[in-house]
């Protein structure tokens, strides 16, 4: 069971909302803290990868389970 500091459920939201909500949530967090995002948009897999590369926030984990997508993002 992985640890995280905050969780964001972006289920049902479509591009670009999961990214925008994640960014907003990360803004309120401290460096080194981990955000867990749940999404149903299949496009979010590539988007969170690209978000991580461009913002420097580390994508620690990206996985799919039962039609949902789960991401662990560590704030830079």
């Amino acid at each position: 069971m992985a640890d995280f500091d905050q969780e964001l459920d972006a289920s049902g939201l479509n591009c670009p909302l999961p990214i925008l909500r994640a960014k907003k949530t990360l803004n309120s967090m401290d460096a080194g803290q981990v955000l867990h995002v749940i999404a149903t948009d299949p496009g979010s897999v590539k988007d969170f990868d690209a978000f991580s590369k461009q913002t420097g926030n580390e994508l620690m984990e990206s996985k799919e389970d039962g039609g949902k997508f789960y991401f662990m993002i560590k704030k830079a």
Binding site: G12, I19, L20, A22, T40
Partner: protein, 159 residues
């Protein structure tokens, strides 16, 4: 790392074409870009306080139509009174069902993320529009002001 810059010119005032500028600018802002949208001609409709954006099947053969309507009533059927309103209503419902943000929401997100929204002063005058019709927090400027930002931008889009 220097902040990247995104400059967009938004020229269209329909519901479907309202999405690209606001989606791209809000996403760019989330990625750390300094972003600016310059609204000119029909794009000014996107800055109105009360949005009344429509989508039209007219002159738009790429628009998916329900029940094969485009086959049964090609072109002329699309000119029937109420057709545009109906298509707009259906499009809005579909967007809501699929979790696509409203234009109002995306515009708010842009403003929250400090995307600079600029109305083309010349078009505002041309169409006898008044600044009271537009949302707060926007600026008014001309072509030279756009180039001041666009000339230093990493990405520049005309939509």
């Amino acid at each position: 790392m220097d902040e990247k810059k995104l400059a967009i010119i938004a020229t269209k005032g329909s519901l479907d074409w309202a999405y690209p500028p606001f989606i791209l600018a809000s996403t760019a802002a989330a990625l750390g870009y300094e972003s600016q949208i310059f609204f000119t001609f029909y794009g000014l409709q996107l800055l109105k306080k009360k949005l009344d954006l429509q989508v039209t099947p007219l002159g738009n053969p790429g628009m998916p139509m329900p029940m094969g309507m485009d086959k049964w009533f090609p072109v002329l059927g699309m000119t029937l009174p109420g057709m545009q309103g109906m298509m707009t209503g259906m499009m809005k419902k579909k967007m809501k069902d699929k979790g696509v943000a409203s234009i109002e929401d995306l515009r708010d997100l842009c403003q929250e993320a400090d995307v600079k929204l600029i109305a083309c002063q010349m078009t505002v005058d041309l169409f006898d529009m008044d600044s009271s019709e537009f949302i707060d927090g926007i600026e008014y400027a001309g072509a030279a002001a756009f180039f001041e930002f666009a000339g230093e931008s990493d990405i520049c889009l005309y939509i």
